[in-house]
Symmetry: C2
Subunit: 194 residues, 2 copies
Amino acid sequence: MNVMNASPRRKELTRLAAQLFVQEGFDRTTVRMLAQEMGIKSGSLFHHFRDKQEILAAVIEEGTENALVIARDALARCDSSASARLHAMARAHLETLLTDRNAHVVALYEWRRLDSEARAHLSHLRDAYEALWEEVIDEALAEGLVHGDRFLVSRFVMGALNWTVRWYDPEGTRTPDELADELVAMITRSASTP
Amino acid sequence: MNVMNASPRRKELTRLAAQLFVQEGFDRTTVRMLAQEMGIKSGSLFHHFRDKQEILAAVIEEGTENALVIARDALARCDSSASARLHAMARAHLETLLTDRNAHVVALYEWRRLDSEARAHLSHLRDAYEALWEEVIDEALAEGLVHGDRFLVSRFVMGALNWTVRWYDPEGTRTPDELADELVAMITRSASTP
DNA sequence: CATTCAACCAAGCAAGCGCTAGTGTGAATG
DNA sequence: CATTCACACTAGCGCTTGCTTGGTTGAATG
């Protein structure tokens, strides 16, 4: 078994697992289902993963790492005004959420199935990501673009964004970018210094 | 087995089940665990419920019906300004969400475990509840209290509110009402006609 | 007093679960 | 040519799962 997510076989298995975990849920997805999807026998899975838990951890790790990379890229690429950074962050969030959808739905729904070991490791990744958000929100607050409590604002915004996986239709007319801009508009429109 | 949630034994079982489903998840909660919690044997459960699915449906039905009642009450009790109704609706939402927390967490997390029969029935309840929201949002839009697309605004708001079950600490300093008011303030503050 | 009935129990079945042990490949490596 | 290595297979163990069956209570009902 590999420590990293390096092997191509393992990467493909992780992708398939994410899909199955979304369709069936983690507990209802059996190792035999995943094996069949891959075209191998169930026992062979344990050459790539120590146990079923490790498959779940791999799925979530993949998604969260992607989110971090994309968010950092987006922030590095845009200009430094608070408004631009807020837009960039919201767009990046929805981009990962909706393209890498399976992994993120698993992260949102099956987080509690992680054992404490994996959870500790992945908490760090998630915290790093949320720190980016709080930074951007802080800047928006400082410029008077948004009002309210820093903690509450960031939770509300992330809630609104994460909830999209429940109703957003990729085949519909709205792009993720439009969605992100609408949300930012909703919380910043006509905000004047009180 | 009863068709209604009438029997006291069944009501108590539903309450205990909600608690277990939150702690362990639906799939990991065995009928033996629930039975032991109730102080009976596992086989006796099937006198009260046809199968395990029906227990899940009962939990979710209970929660959703409560939400509807509380929201309707709150709307009937407040004055008719768009602002008052928006505040009332947000407060009512958080009140149910955080007092009847177990049932709602189950509804949010384990909805997909329902079979299609139960899902059809419960969808109606949920739709009736969401219709209340869209009505209130419509009024807020008409008065220029909020801006944007009616569909998007209601999704964003419900997302922000539902997300609270993930981070809100009932032992903390903030009351649910304060939370609701903060959110309404965030999306309405200084909104001027464009 | 006979009957009914909700509520429970004891015992267990059939199916499915995660995972292991031991073995066999064909390709790359020294 | 010998060895290693990633990858896969067969076969099944030990356990848990949801649920069923047939029978037993104690209280209410007529």
